[in-house]
């Protein structure tokens, strides 16, 4: 069977129109769940056509006086895993609930990308996330797990990979070194993007 290729396969999602908001590949219904403090979590994002984005945002459901959420986008490597940082949008202050978004200015070619969010400042913030684990073929472990929670969302790990939750306290790293948890209760952040052109 041929490998998936954005250049040859039909898009998996419709193409957002200019000034429309859209999200990534959401594996389950929206819910309010916890986030891993200072660990990057990823949302698969398929860009079906060349476009520019000018907004990236989340919905904060539980605010905290010192809360912040850093947002960004990574591209994919040859194996469709998070690879190089495309844009670090900075943080939005999760000190109040509601729709929080940061302005970006980025042009993307068609293909797979990864929206990302990392909770910084306070571990008490909750944003709208998917209540299902991310389970897509590109996420797999070196050892077989018990399939209780197959391949949860990517988590940025230490340079050696693995399951350590890296302390991402500042800017996003230029390269996404990804690990994963097995049986980890980790869910996928719902991130919205707006097409500008």
């Amino acid at each position: 069977m041929a490998e998936f290729s954005p250049a040859t396969q039909k898009p998996l999602v419709s193409t957002p129109l200019v000034n429309e908001y859209f999200t990534g590949v959401v594996p389950g219904a929206a819910n309010l769940v916890g986030n891993f403090f200072q660990a990057i979590t990823f949302l698969p994002l398929f860009i079906p056509a060349a476009m520019s984005l000018d907004q990236i945002g989340i919905r904060c459901e539980t605010a905290n006086a010192s809360g912040s959420m850093r947002l960004g986008i990574y591209d994919s490597d040859a194996n469709n895993r998070p690879s190089t940082l495309v844009v670090d949008a900075g943080t939005v202050a999760t000190t109040s609930t509601g729709a929080l978004q940061a302005t970006i200015n980025v042009s993307l070619a068609p293909g797979w990308y990864w929206g990302c969010a990392v909770e910084q400042g306070s571990n008490l913030v909750r944003i709208r996330s998917s209540n299902s684990f991310l389970s897509i073929p590109v996420v797999s472990g070196a050892t077989q797990n018990d399939l209780n929670a197959p391949a949860t969302a990517f988590i940025h790990a230490t340079a050696t990979g693995g399951t350590t939750r890296a302390s991402v306290t500042g800017a996003l790293p230029s390269t996404a070194v990804v690990g994963f948890t097995i049986n980890g209760a980790h869910n996928v952040p719902l991130i919205q993007f707006r097409r500008s052109a």
């Binding site: 900075g90 939005v92 202050a93 109040s96 509601g98 929080l100 978004q101």
Partner: protein, 80 residues
């Protein structure tokens, strides 16, 4: 719900208004009608056949769900 938009670079306390470039109040989404079972449970609660709690539990909803449904009915009934 409030929508806060930050400028390039996101939150920045060194910039005016912490780099917030827009802050608007979004209207709350309209209440979605309950499924038929929820509507029936609401009707039974309104008519006093069941308590709101029992009616809600019977269909896996919350008492607030039934209350909002009943309020929507009342609004609709008063419209010309």
């Amino acid at each position: 719900m409030k929508q806060i938009t930050y400028g390039l670079g996101g939150y920045d306390p060194s910039k005016p208004n912490n780099n917030i470039v827009e802050e608007i109040d979004l209207p709350d989404p309209p209440q979605q009608p309950l499924p038929p079972a929820g509507a029936l449970a609401t009707l039974l609660a309104v008519e006093g056949v069941l308590t709101v709690i029992d009616a809600a539990n019977a269909v896996g909803l919350t008492p607030n769900d039934l209350t909002l449904e009943a309020q929507a009915w009342a609004v609709a009934a008063n419209q010309p």
